[in-house]
Structures are given as structure tokens and as C-alpha cells.
């Protein structure tokens, strides 16, 4: 029994999961204190033929950050730096997508007949634009050896502006149900959940079934040694940034479909920071090397869980950031290496004392 518990606590995912449960527990306490059933927060029900409930909200609203976190994890692992352009790239891709669909300079489309190009062209265009941005970042980082943060700073500041230019400085509205599907519902299930799940599944299968995951980690741990061992480090880093851009493109489509418009000023605003935080909350080192994709995904949903908790608790908007900060501090401190080491030491000391007592 004790052994099993020990094994469980030593799992890499143990702490991230504990953290997300901790956040959810806050809701249980709150609900019980307010004479609601303790499972109120976890209740999933069908309303108006659609899946509904707080947990569904978390999974739904957290999708964009979860998708971004996939790309961010790979980038952090391979290059030991972060891609801070993902939020802007999201906005750029969303603008490009809506621009292609509505036609340049058109600010509002209300039916599918008014589409300038078929919707699929817009979607593929957005993904392509994401890849292009990723390739640009990747080329700067891997082939020109520019610091990742500096390299991605270019698109961080330019992406949103290019998006505005593409949309002729307007918010492009595509008030068409077909376009709203990607951020709305597919049957009773919110589509973003499905998209995020597919992205996670495809990435983890590729990482598990091919050696790519191992290559990325080895490049992240020691670039030079990997090269000497026969890996093309530059190419691998380039690929990671490309994938990160693609993820940003997908997230951009989801975000713009949610509001059936391309609001380039607001889509993906500050989301790069959420994505980086997700990677960190997942127990990954931002210095690169070993990574745990599942951890990052849990991290992403932890962030959304905190937001949803704030809504559930009815914390006023002005105070919410403070509460969020406190929760994040607690989570990060729990996972901090010195604290972990201290816990281990204490445990060892306890064990040795017990041994001594037993021998006496």
C-alpha cells in the first residue's frame, strides 16, 4: 500500500494533476458552503440539446490554450526558449481566414452565398499562414541562431498589425452558421473540445510511434551532442517552430469561429503567456530538454479551471487577477525543485529516525 502510494507520488504527472484537483476542490468547498450539492460544479447535463456544465465549459474554453500548449511544449523542449508570437499569429491567421472568405475590404457577410471563396480555402489559408509564421520563426531561431524570444518578438509585434492590414482595419464579421461550427457545437458536443482532442491525439501518436519525441528531447538536452550523434538539430528545431505556428493557426480558427468574426485587436490577446504558463504548470522545465505533453495539456486546463472557478465564486472582475495570481503562485511553489528536494530530505530523515528507533 505504502509502496503504491510512493510510486503514485513519484509519477511525473502527479503534481500537475494534484494542482488541477486542488483548484476544483475550491469549488466543492464553495458549493457546499452555499447549500448546493458538492457535485454541483462537476454536473454535466443536456440543456437545449447541448452538453452543458462547468466541466464542459473548462474543456471548451480551454481548448485554444491547450492547442497552443502542444506547440509551445515542443518549442520549449527543443530550443529552450519560448515562442511569444503565438497570440499574434492566432490573430493574424484568423484575420487571413476571414479575409479570404469574405473578400478583401468586405466587413460583413451574412450568408454563405456572399462568400468570396469557399470556406475550405479560408481555413487552409489560415493553416498555411500559421505554418509560414512558424517557418519564419523557426528559420530565425535554428538557422540564424537568434535567441528565440528575440526572433519571435518580431511576429509578436507585427502579427496583429499585418492582420489589421489584411482586414482593411475593420472587424470582419462572418455571421454564417457554417463558419460558427468550429467554435460552436458539433451535435451536442462543443467543437473546440473535439478539435483540441484530435490535435493532442495526433501529436502524441506521432511522438510515441516515431522517434521524433526522442529527437526533440535530445536536441533540447544537448544540441551539439545530438548533432555529433547524427541528428540534424537545426531541422528538428525548425520543425518544432513550424508545428507551433500550425497550432496557432488552428487555435486562431477556433477563436474567430467562436465569435464568427475576425477581431484582430482581441483574438489571442495575451494568450502566449497562458500557453507558456501551461507548459510550466505541467511540470516542464522552460530551459528545454525533457518534456511531458500531457502535463502541458493539464496545465492549460488548470488555467481555464481557475478562470471558471472565479466565475463560479462570483469574484468581482477587479479582484479576480489577484486571486488568480495567488493560485498560480501556490501551484508553482508546490512544484518548485527546492521544495521537492526539501520534502524528500524530510522523508529520508524521518525514515532514518524510524530505523534507528527500530534498531534500538
Amino acid at each position: 500500500m505504502k509502496n503504491k502510494l510512493k510510486k503514485l507520488t513519484q509519477q511525473q504527472l502527479f503534481l500537475p494533476i494534484v494542482c488541477v484537483l486542488l483548484v476544483l476542490c475550491v469549488n466543492v468547498v464553495y458549493d457546499v458552503a452555499h447549500d448546493r450539492a458538492f457535485y454541483d460544479f462537476f454536473r454535466i447535463y443536456i440543456q437545449n440539446d447541448l452538453l452543458n456544465g462547468r466541466i464542459i465549459n473548462i474543456l471548451n474554453r480551454g481548448s485554444e490554450v491547450a492547442i497552443l500548449a502542444i506547440g509551445m511544449t515542443l518549442v520549449v523542449s527543443a530550443s529552450g526558449g519560448t515562442d511569444i508570437s503565438v497570440g499574434s499569429v492566432m490573430s493574424l491567421c484568423a484575420s487571413f481566414c476571414c479575409m479570404l472568405i469574405a473578400g478583401f475590404g468586405v466587413s460583413s457577410v451574412s450568408s454563405a452565398e456572399e462568400f468570396a471563396t469557399p470556406m475550405i480555402v479560408g481555413l487552409l489559408g489560415a493553416l498555411l499562414m500559421g505554418c509560414l509564421c512558424g517557418a519564419f520563426n523557426g528559420a530565425l531561431v535554428s538557422y540564424l541562431n537568434i535567441q528565440p524570444m528575440v526572433a519571435t518578438l518580431i511576429l509578436w509585434s507585427a502579427g496583429r498589425a499585418i492582420g489589421l492590414l489584411l482586414c482593411n482595419n475593420l472587424i470582419v464579421y462572418i455571421r454564417v452558421p457554417e463558419f460558427g461550427v468550429f467554435g460552436g457545437y458539433l451535435g451536442p458536443i462543443p467543437t473546440p473540445i473535439i478539435i483540441a482532442a484530435v490535435c493532442v491525439a495526433v501529436t502524441s501518436i506521432v511522438l510515441k510511434k516515431t522517434a521524433l519525441g526522442m529527437y526533440i528531447q535530445s536536441v533540447g538536452i544537448n544540441k551539439k551532442a545530438s548533432r555529433i550523434a547524427g541528428l540534424n538539430s537545426q531541422k528538428i528545431i525548425f520543425c518544432c517552430y513550424l508545428l507551433c505556428g500550425l497550432c496557432a493557426g488552428i487555435a486562431g480558427i477556433v477563436a474567430s469561429s467562436r465569435i464568427t468574426s475576425a477581431d484582430s485587436n482581441n483574438i489571442g490577446l495575451d494568450m502566449e503567456l497562458d500557453a507558456i504558463l501551461a507548459v510550466a504548470l505541467g511540470g516542464n522545465s522552460l530551459a528545454g530538454g525533457k518534456f511531458n505533453l500531457a502535463g502541458s495539456i493539464i496545465g492549460a486546463y488548470t488555467i481555464q479551471a481557475i478562470t471558471t472557478t472565479m466565475y463560479n465564486l462570483g469574484v468581482t472582475s477587479a479582484q479576480a487577477p489577484v486571486f488568480k495570481a495567488i493560485i498560480v503562485i501556490v501551484i508553482v511553489v508546490i512544484q518548485a525543485p527546492p521544495l521537492k528536494a526539501w520534502m524528500k530530505k524530510r522523508k529520508a530523515a524521518k525514515a532514518s529516525v524510524q530505523k534507528e528507533v527500530a534498531s534500538v
Binding site: 440543456q47 437545449n48 447541448l50 452543458n52 456544465g53 462547468r54 465549459n57 474554453r61 460583413s108 509560414l132 517557418a135 519564419f136 528559420a139 530565425l140 538557422y143 540564424l144 518580431i154 507585427a158 499585418i162 492590414l165 482595419n169 475593420l170 472587424i171 464579421y173 460552436g184 457545437y185 531541422k235 525548425f238 477563436a255 467562436r258 465569435i259 468574426s261 477581431d263 485587436n265 482581441n266 483574438i267 471558471t308 466565475y311 463560479n312 462570483g314 468581482t316 472582475s317 477587479a318 479576480a320
Partner: protein, 362 residues
Amino acid sequence: MKKFLALILALSMAFALVACGGNSGNTTGNNTNTGNTGNTGSSDNTGSSDGELIRVGFAQVGHESDWRAASTNSAYEVFSEENGYDLSFVDSDNDSANQIAAVRNFIQQGMDYIIIDPIVSTGWDAVLTECEEAGIPVFIIDRTVDDSDKYVSWVGSDFLVEGQACGEWLKAYAEDKGIEELNILVIEGSVGASATIGRTDGFKEIADREGWTILDSQSGDFTEAGGQEVMESYCQSYAGQFNVVICQNDNEASGAMTAMDNAGVTYGVGGDVILVSFDANKPYVEMVMQGKINANFECNPMAAPTVAELIQMMENGETPEKEIYVTESWFVAEDNVTEITVNGEVQPVIHVTQEVLDARPY
């Protein structure tokens, strides 16, 4: 492979450079343009004193929304050459450094009047002092300047009155419909924004007086995504408990409508929930006409006509007041309430018809 990648990189960088080049070329083009018109204007001045154009410099925030575009267009219309003005317009692209540079440029060009819609509310004292030393009167419109009073007047919306008007209309509407208990959910704007503070306080004042219940008040950040997320949460926390939703701008209202559709809550005329919005952009005034939104309270972007009046006052040697509010209209979907009393002042409520909608400039 490497060469290929290098090629792609080179191409993409070239693309970026071209993009930047095109952009800056454009702005410089604009600048020289305005400079030119300015010059011809002054040469006209020296030529004939009776046809003298008043030179006005306008440092606009940017072009982020339809509201902003309406504000810009209104300035172009009012300060036209036919009306005796020569307007130099600068779009600051939401960058306050650009804006301050534009104002300094206006001083150098020797404008007669300068209009600023300040992107940020602080850091203005130095440049406004320069304006004062150059003897150029400055008008502030829309947003406010907190750290300096070296301007003639501020012209803008009274958000507090907007919030109060919303409350007074709701009171009259509820009385007419015989709704006795109002349980209200508010979706606020960005935390700390003057529009958020004014609209929240104004509405709360009436709500407290009438003893209404405000169930919750959360920020939707003035965005559609924000409004959607907050409303989604409201529909779960307060299912069946609320009958009024106040959104502090149109985008939030749009998001709230999507969330209520998903949750199966009906709103608008004949719905379970009274939906109120602020700003009154044209597409949303149309929604009022269709009965999707019960009432929409305008935030008037047309400060330019008022500023023009003030300029004429100053030309005649009068001193305008420090704070001037633009007139605003309240749009509703039904004709049961025709006027409301806000702060003791009777104001008309406009029932939106096709004619009203067609007459809307933005």
C-alpha cells in the same frame, strides 16, 4: 535542403521588408500630403484674408472599431474646406508615442487649433505645455487627460448619464409591463475603463434606489468572446433566476446572445430576458429594430460638430466651458416608453423604425 530553406528565409524577410516599406511609405505619403494641403492653406491665408481657412490638427487614436471610423468621418465632414477649415488628420495607430509626435508636428506647422483623442490619460503635461507656449488652443475629445489641465475643453460622453438613463428606462419599462421583480446580471466592460465605471455607477445608483437585485457583475472586457464566456457562466450559475441582462457594449451583447441561444434562454421583445446594450452601433440598432435587443444606449462618436461650435466661440472671443457633453440618444424596440427623466431632465426615447435606422450615420 539548406539552400532551399535559406531561400525561403530570404524571401520571407524580403516580404517583411516590402511590407514594412510599403507601410512606412504610405504614412510618409500621408504626412507629406497633409503638409502640402497645410502649405497651400497658409499661402491662401496670405493671399486673401477674407477667405481665411482655420487650420485644425486632429490626432486620432486609431481605427480599431466602427465607432472610431464614425468619429474620424465626422471630423472630415465638419472640418471641410467648404466649412472654412483646413484639417490635418493623423491616425496614431493606437501608439501614444506616435500621437505625441503628431501633436509636436502640429505645433511646428503652426496649427490654429489642435484636437486630441488621447490614447492614454497620462503623460500629457509636457506636450500640452508646449502647445500653450505656442499659443495653440487644444481640445480633448472622447477619452480624458488626467495629469494636465492645459486644454480649453474636453468634449465627450457622460457615461454616468448613460448608465442612469438605462436604469430610468428599465424602471419605466418594467412598470409598463407590470414586471415587479427585477433580477439583473451585468456584463461590465474592461476593468478601470471610464466607460465601465460611469455606466456601472450610473445604473447601480438607480438599481439601489429602486431596490432591484443585481445578481452578479463581471467583466467581459468589451469583447464578444468575453461577453460569451461570462454569459455562459451566468446561465449556469443563475439558471432561471434572472430576467434582465445589461451588456456594457454591443460586442458583449452579441456574445451574450450566442451564449443565451446555446442555453435555450429567450431574450429581446417577447423573450424571458430583457437585453440591454450600450454604444448603439448601426448593426446593433438594427437588432433593436428586429426586437433582439430591448434597448440600446448610444455613446456618440460625433464630437467634431461640438468642437467646431467651440472653435467658432473662441473665434468670437468667448471662452467655452471646461467639460462639455455631446448629446446622446436612447434607442428602444417597443413604443411603450416615449420619454424618461434623467437627473430631473426629460429626455426622449427613440422607438427604432426603418427610417431611424436609415438616418444613422454609423
